[in-house]
Symmetry: C2
Subunit: 114 residues, 2 copies
Amino acid sequence: MASDHLSLTLAALADPTRRAMLARLAQGEATVTELAAPFALSLPTVSKHLKVLQHAGLVTQGRKAQWRPCRLAAAPLREVAAWMEDYRQFWDESFDRLDDYLHDLQSQGKEQPQ
Amino acid sequence: MASDHLSLTLAALADPTRRAMLARLAQGEATVTELAAPFALSLPTVSKHLKVLQHAGLVTQGRKAQWRPCRLAAAPLREVAAWMEDYRQFWDESFDRLDDYLHDLQSQGKEQPQ
DNA sequence: CTCTTATTATGCTATTGAGCTAAATAGCGA
DNA sequence: TCGCTATTTAGCTCAATAGCATAATAAGAG
């Protein structure tokens, strides 16, 4: 069943249609119909995709008359980033001591070096 | 079908069993049997999970007598990181100009031989 | 060659996910 | 109220995935 939230998020992101919907929402709110427009998919199908995204917390839906404007809620991506961080050394070529240093700098309240 | 590689990778990562297998491999090579040990799963099932990870390019398998030692191959995570980068501003609170500066610094040089 | 161990292939079942159409709900506007 | 638009629910099909047990393959040990 894989119902931990990270799994939910990754599963939601694993579908290209859903990623495209997120890309659209990154540019601002959109109604379900607007979101559906670029796809050759029925509205119920789009609605279902939306539900998956909402369930993962990646989208929130408001209410404006009969429209349900959707908004990106990217917080779950933090979870993904946190998970990936453990593997950083395996994929980030520039992961080295300076990298650590920069990350320390970063987290300790940024003043500009140099 | 969703057969672009990013989708493949995310789908592979969406399963907690597979993520646990990657976590194990992050500590070093392991045979299929070793990988299977922590799980209450049959070997064929584990073998299938491995195939998914291999298909996504997240694991490579060698050959040593009758063992097939598996190794982590985290390169596909770069793809995930690249995708997430477009959404950084939406989830990374410390996303600001300094952050950019630090990333520039990061990418402009320094390799460290092992 | 035979035995044993490690792994994968096959064939099966059950569950989930993506897609559809048609019907139901929600809210505006006349 | 009636009708129009937006969206979701219900019910279906099909394909994919996770799981199992059993059988086949691969390779070392005797």
